[in-house]
């Protein structure tokens, strides 16, 4: 296959430039805030108490970096083409509370009296159109202690002020990875504490690939559904199932930049429909239609009308001008144009699943007992199909695994716990991050065998 051929068929899903109407993830000051937006000419981003137009972001490559600058009409986003390496180092260094190697840190003590520039002075500078960089220079000039600091501390001071007076905005591509990481950082409870490495394992262990028909129970807001759909690339189906009359909300799916060909493959179907009987010939098509008709109605109350699960509220972690680098942080999403996702599954697809079974099963349902789901869903899988069940607690999975063993329903059973560690790699200062997420949850995986009920 020639390279040109590949380029041609690369989906919009993998686009490298933004376009008007696309979904974007804005990373402000290196993770301080994470904001999902629909990129339109009229869209704005609130920085401090001012609003910046997002217009300059249209048709830029994902990965571009912007800086808030003060113009005559207020702040605007200006693209930066290179960043200093120094600040990158410091960025990472924020994790280390003490600098080993510095012989004497008595001089590091500092307090707010050292700065002679007042808040009013700074506002005045701003009104006069001073740029962020100019304000920072003024602050340094008026700091009584800056000269006494070590060069490391000086750089740290500069970075802190830069974040405040000249914030940087990184234009990130919304993908399963970036969306998962943003949620895990800011709103982990909304995605059942599903960390990106655990999500990655679910997809691998359930062998998700193009042309798969993946049965999912997604009670993590659509993150799982979106991640599966991303891997299908418009072939096969991700079928969300549920009990009762309302599918579970999957709003997060709308943060992905899925084209129509992918959206059409994200469907839902109630357990009742899927289970009617595995021998499809005994089900009259009118029965099927009736079943689906019910669902079609309930769908109206489903995801398309529900409000986004992330609100605009900012999580205040610390706003003091203290020694730490933690500042107000938020993860926010604005309602975006409803995309046609989460339709009911087509009749022929349901028919095919009843005849052939699903290729795999993934469950992420924080509040439901795992075994009560697995015992009903496993029979819907083809023989030899893999499955993976996520839970933040181990014990429900242990009980489920035990029942599967006893019932001889599956083989290759194991509970896995991913353990992820990030490192600071800097000259003479290499070590694992001092803080870490200690729990990546647990995954029960296995393979359905023939002859199991």
């Amino acid at each position: 296959m020639s390279i040109n051929k590949i380029q041609e068929i690369t989906s919009k899903n993998n686009a490298r430039l933004t376009w008007e109407g696309c979904s974007i993830l804005l990373d402000i000051n290196d993770g301080e805030r994470m904001v999902f937006e629909r990129l339109t000419a009229g869209a704005t981003l609130k920085v401090g108490n001012k609003k910046c137009s997002l217009q300059p972001l249209i048709n830029c490559p994902f990965g571009s970096l912007f800086q808030v600058e003060n113009g005559t009409d207020g702040p605007f986003l200006s693209r930066i083409f290179s960043t200093s390496e120094g600040s990158n180092d410091l960025q990472e260094e924020k994790e280390s509370p003490t600098v080993y190697g510095s012989k004497d840190n008595r001089e590091l003590m500092d307090n707010n009296t050292a700065q002679s520039l007042t808040g009013e002075d700074i506002d005045e500078l701003r009104r006069k159109g001073a740029s962020g960089v100019e304000i920072i220079e003024a602050l340094i000039t008026n700091s009584a202690t800056f000269e006494k600091k070590t060069s490391f501390s000086q750089e740290k001071y500069r970075l802190k002020k830069q974040k405040k007076y000249s914030p940087r905005v990184l234009l990130r591509r919304p993908t399963a990875r970036s969306i998962c990481e943003a949620y895990f950082k800011k709103r982990p409870e909304q995605i059942g504490f599903l960390r990106m490495d655990a999500l990655a394992l679910l997809l691998s262990m359930a062998s998700v690939t193009s042309h798969s028909d993946v049965l999912v129970v997604d009670m993590v807001g659509g993150l799982l559904t979106g991640a599966v759909a991303e891997r299908l690339g418009g072939n096969g189906y991700v079928c969300n199932t549920y009990r009762g009359i309302t599918p579970y909300p999957i709003d997060i799916v709308r943060m992905f930049n899925f084209g129509t060909e992918i959206c059409e493959r994200i469907v839902n179907s109630s357990l009742t429909e899927l289970c009617a009987t595995s021998n499809v010939t005994s089900v009259s098509s009118s029965q099927l239609e009736e079943a689906c008709g019910t669902r079609s109605q309930s769908n109206e109350e489903g995801p398309s009308s529900s409000v986004p699960s992330l609100d605009m509220g900012e999580i205040m972690i610390s706003s003091e001008d203290g020694d730490t680098d933690i500042s107000p942080a938020s993860l926010a999403v604005k309602p975006c144009k409803a995309t046609k996702v989460g339709q009911k599954a087509p009749l022929d697809a349901i028919k095919s699943w009843r005849e052939n079974g699903f290729s795999s099963l993934i469950i992420a349902a924080p509040q439901i007992d795992a075994w009560s789901m697995v015992k009903e869903l496993l029979p819907l899988l083809s023989f030899s199909a893999p499955f993976a069940v996520y839970h933040q607690y181990q014990q429900p999975l242990a009980l489920c695994m035990h029942n599967l063993q006893v019932g001889k329903m599956a083989i290759g059973l194991q509970i896995s716990e991913p353990w992820l560690r990030e490192y600071q790699v800097l000259p003479s200062r290499t070590h694992p991050h001092m803080q870490m997420s200690t729990s990546g949850g647990y995954i029960l995986s296995g393979t359905r065998i023939f002859g199991s009920k």
């Binding site: 990965g63 990106m196 990655a200 059973l413 000259p427």
Partner: protein, 309 residues
């Protein structure tokens, strides 16, 4: 991998046929890949299994030997393949593989560059991820290893998705034809810093690179080199801890009237189904980390090509 092609998809109806690759499952830590042929036999400690008995049975079936021993026949997946492939080199396992695919954002249609090919463990998963329209170009320094990998991809039905080249990527870099074409680049080389400048040229804007290295010194040097053209340089390590589940009969102290440690049978493993049901009545279901595990595989360093256009 069967499920990637529509006509070969595993289903209730899809039965084992002559020429299929099946994974013979003895235990979770004992599997092998077998090509089914009419007159073939498989011999192991459980006896002799005739392939002819397998044909026509659904995947996932339990089949018996002449001596009544049994095995399961599974459809191959990338994960199972990783457990059965022949180790020509140190291989990557599911934890690293899944994280790499996720972090590199590899999806259908992507063009991916890899070096070295090694035993093809990661390559198999890369191919599955870019299917049906993407492609993986993988390079190995060793001619012999490249050939063996090609044979493997033929066997697993991935050859249309993978091209294996013989090339010293550390010395020569990736071929010029890929400049600006790659969505992602993966390096598993002894001196990755030598290949990083070339990898940077191959990537599309905002494209992501991953370098896998067992030793921290390799990481330190790679990170130094990455700084010139890359950003978001992050190093991770991922490990997987596996748990066994068993019904453990922990006695109440009151009922434990003396006696030394080894004097009675106190435990019942529930893994074997026959007495499992009974055990589950009074036993506590406990999970225990498998006592020995992989303590380290390698460090994964990721970096995003800095946007300058």
């Amino acid at each position: 991998m069967l499920s990637m092609e529509l006509e070969n998809k595993v289903s209730f109806k899809r039965c084992i046929r002559e020429g299929d690759l099946v994974i013979v499952y003895e235990r979770h830590d004992n599997m092998k890949a077998v090509k089914v042929c009419e007159n073939g036999v498989l011999q192991n400690r459980f006896g002799v299994f005739k392939h002819s008995d397998w044909i026509g049975k659904p995947f996932g079936s339990k089949v018996f030997s002449n001596k009544g021993g049994f095995i399961y026949l599974l459809a191959p997946t990338a994960e199972l393949w990783t457990l059965v492939l022949s180790h020509r080199t140190q291989i990557l396992y599911v934890a690293d593989i899944s994280f790499v695919i996720m972090y590199l954002e590899i999806i259908p249609g992507c063009l991916v560059l890899e070096s070295g090919t090694g035993s093809g463990s990661l390559t198999t998963s890369l191919a599955r991820a870019v299917a049906p329209t993407g492609h993986v170009y993988t390079f190995d320094f060793h001619d012999q290893r490249a050939s063996s990998a090609r044979e493997d991809f033929e066997k697993t039905g991935l050859s249309s998705l993978v091209t294996v080249g013989v090339r010293d990527i550390q010395g020569e870099g990736f071929p010029d034809e890929f400049i600006g074409q790659a969505d992602s680049v993966f390096l598993d080389l002894p001196q990755p810093w030598l290949a990083i400048p070339s990898a940077g040229k191959m990537l599309k804007e905002d494209g992501v690179l991953c370098s896998f290295s067992p030793c921290i010194e390799q990481v330190q040097r790679s990170c130094e080199t990455l700084k010139s053209c890359f950003t978001d340089i992050r190093t991770f390590e991922i490990l997987l801890r596996s748990y066994e589940v068993r019904g453990e009969r922990l006695e109440s102290w009151e009922n434990h009237a003396g006696g030394s440690l080894g004097s009675r049978k106190r435990r019942q493993r529930s893994t074997d189904g026959s007495n499992g049901v009974e055990a589950s009545v009074s036993a506590t279901i406990v999970a225990r980390p498998s006592s020995e595990g992989r303590g380290h595989t390698g460090y994964l360093t990721f970096a995003r090509l800095r946007c300058v256009i």
